[in-house]
């Protein structure tokens, strides 16, 4: 398909090539322990998290430096989100949610560096993240509330005749949660990067290249916004699901 376009118009569109997973050392076979570009950029995400959250706060200054106030801002942002949505008893999960948030934010922003690789654009990554949340919420809900957790699907405020129908809908929507949770994040990141690549393909034609470069700039700005908003949305949905597990009163 891409070859088609290449033959007819001299244009080369390879919007999906940037998501290829390659062995850093050039090996053809990728086994579970191979160091790939994905693992390199995940490692860089760890470095970014450590730099942002640990190195900047090493002075423990009362009057924070710029880096420290960013770290404190991130802390306060997620802390307030968890407290507002799940309540005081949800704060046990604050480090867990903070981990998700910091990983997604760092991976997203590192992925915006030209030529880089974005781990969060892969379903393998986001499905694991979403399934981790889903399993946590389900297990926690049953451990904490027992059979009462099933009340989440039995809408007591609805008329009795409607309740079985609503229960089916609720169960479906409950099991669709991890699907939409993971595809939302990967889809958003992938879409933005692919669109930038398509614009970059158009830049090969001299006449439209200024427009294409303008388009790349605009999409890049949008992607910066999307990177943060998707991390925020992923985190706040995690909080909302956790609230269901902690307080299943519908």
């Amino acid at each position: 398909m891409a070859d088609d376009a290449a033959k007819s118009g001299g244009l080369e569109f390879h919007p999906m090539d940037q998501f290829n997973i390659k062995d850093v050392f050039g090996g053809a076979e990728i086994s579970w322990y191979t160091i790939t570009n994905a693992s390199v950029w995940m490692g860089l995400a760890i470095v970014a998290v450590v730099a942002l959250m640990v190195l900047t706060t090493s002075k423990r200054a009362i009057v924070p430096s710029r880096g420290q106030s960013v770290a404190e801002l991130a802390y306060g942002f997620v802390y307030k989100m968890v407290e507002d949505v799940t309540g005081k008893d949800g704060l046990v999960f604050f480090p867990y949610i903070m981990t998700l948030f910091m990983f997604i934010v760092c991976a997203n922003f590192l992925g915006l560096i030209p030529g880089s690789f974005t781990p969060t654009s892969h379903f393998a990554v986001t499905v694991v993240l979403a399934m981790a949340v889903f399993l946590t919420v389900t297990i926690l809900g049953f451990v904490k509330n027992g059979a009462k957790f099933l009340g989440l699907f039995w809408v007591a405020s609805a008329p009795l005749a409607l309740r079985p129908v609503l229960a089916i809908i609720e169960i479906i929507s409950y099991f669709v949660r991890p699907v939409s949770h993971s595809i939302r994040l990967a889809g958003n990141v992938m879409a933005g990067h692919a669109v930038i690549k398509v614009f970059a393909g158009f830049a090969a034609i001299a006449v439209v290249s200024p427009v294409a470069i303008l388009g790349i700039t605009a999409m890049y700005a949008l992607e910066i916004l999307v990177s943060f908003i998707q991390a925020y949305v992923f985190t706040i949905l995690t909080c909302v699901y956790l609230k269901d597990a902690l307080h299943p009163s519908h």
Partner: protein, 74 residues
């Protein structure tokens, strides 16, 4: 032949992105209308706004995914 049909299908699936845009616009517009009527309650509802936008947008992303699958995986 099959490839061309898949391309047409991908184009049709991309219409879903526009529908999702309408949905997101609805959410944001109604939020703004409510926020202008009662600005003091607006700040407490930004989380709800983002959740609503995320839900509306997820369906657009699904259609985008279908388009991608038709383009590259079928």
């Amino acid at each position: 032949m099959e490839g061309e049909l898949a391309h047409i299908g991908a184009g049709l699936a991309a219409i879903g992105s526009g529908a999702a845009a309408i949905g997101v616009g609805n959410v944001a517009g109604n939020y703004l209308a409510g926020a202008l009527r009662n600005p003091s309650a607006a700040a407490s509802q930004t989380a709800t706004l983002f959740i609503g936008i995320a839900f509306a947008e997820a369906l657009g992303i699904f259609s985008f995914l279908v388009a991608l699958l038709l383009m590259f995986a079928v």
